[in-house]
Symmetry: C2
Subunit: 193 residues, 2 copies
DNA sequence: ACAACAAAAATGAATGTTCATTCTTTTTTT
DNA sequence: AAAAAAAGAATGAACATTCATTTTTGTTGT
């Protein structure tokens, strides 16, 4: 028990260090030795928890992606109306991307580079299913435009990634009223009228 | 003349190889030796054209970004109406992202990772000025929502990057009618009504 | 038009470093 | 005291960059 606890702490520290170093320096400039140092661990110890560097970064991705989708759907339930359900999910996603931005940034990096093995990437997509189901329901009810889910995602959700990155770079700051603007843009882009 | 021509060819071959290898393998897994081989050149020759690896990738970014913005604004002129001007620019950008997708993918990777030096990244942004100017004009005329340009960009332009990546992954195919849908989503998200 | 040569461009092989991973030993836990 | 976990040092491969030569190009004098 105590021993397992300790192990999980160490694993988490390694994952946290990986995220931080990859965010700041890029995958190409984060050696195992630095990850170990930041996690207060010997390099050799990493190999007790992960097979190799690729496995470490894959597992980190899985971990962060799971946090993301858990957070996104935590307050949603499938008996909500389509409009209300979308609002709930959208705002949770916005919250995650803008506040847990270390995590969100790591995901953005993984989703735009070939550092994660393809099967792992596929795995991560599946967790978005509740949102896709909601959209299908919305289309049947005639509330949501009858378009490919990729298009809906591109316009309703993905802009948040761009805004998160811009904010991270310090280019601008998204305040509460702008966030409300953004939500209106998102909803009005996918809703039927 | 003939000699300069030859040099430019070699430089272009190096840049092309860099794009292709970074796209497929990531920056961390594209050694100078592979770039050289793909460009049919000795590794040492790269250093006649570029200071070092960082300089090579920076210059590649500048090069591709210039191609992108040149293409985007080629058919636009500032005496067009706001709506027409936006349509012209949007469609050129869509065309570039979906057809010159090797180039677009490289930019997406650079924009979401710390592989490019920050000052170089800043430089690249400036070229979008004509679009920002158009938006300012549109706001004054009351045609475009009075929101931060970052928000407008996030909803009107950035979704194309996501769609390009999805298409690159083979996840789905954007046909002509969907592209028209996408344009409608983009315009309706930023226009006043 | 062309030989001879200087300058520039290009090369393949070396250099030295960095890094992922493994090995052996030590420390901690049971 | 045995087993498990962790550590630091060692290993060997990969890599960016440089070096010493060779090849190509351009120029000059005939």
């Amino acid at each position: 028990m105590a021993t397992l606890q300790k192990s999980i702490d160490k694993r988490n520290a390694l994952i946290k260090a990986t995220i931080e170093l990859v965010n700041n320096n890029g995958f190409h400039a984060t050696p195992m030795s630095k990850i170990a140092k930041m996690a207060n661990v010997s390099p050799a110890t990493i190999y007790l928890y992960f097979e190799n560097k690729q496995d470490l970064v894959n597992k980190t991705y899985i971990d962060v992606k799971a946090q993301y989708t858990n957070y996104a759907f935590e307050t949603y339930s499938s008996d909500m109306s389509v409009e209300r359900g979308f609002e709930v999910i959208w705002k949770r996603i916005a919250d995650f991307k803008l506040n847990a931005s270390e995590n969100a940034m790591f995901l953005a990096q993984c989703d735009n580079t070939p550092i994660i093995d393809e099967p792992i990437l596929q795995e991560g997509i599946k967790h978005l299913q509740p949102l896709l189901d909601l959209w299908e329901r919305g289309k049947k009810e005639g509330l949501i435009k009858n378009m490919s889910n990729y298009l809906l995602y591109a316009y309703a959700i993905n802009p948040l990634s761009f805004l998160m990155m811009a904010q991270k770079r310090g280019a601008f700051q998204l305040d509460a009223s702008q966030l409300e603007d953004a939500y209106q843009l998102a909803w009005s882009s996918i809703k039927n009228n």
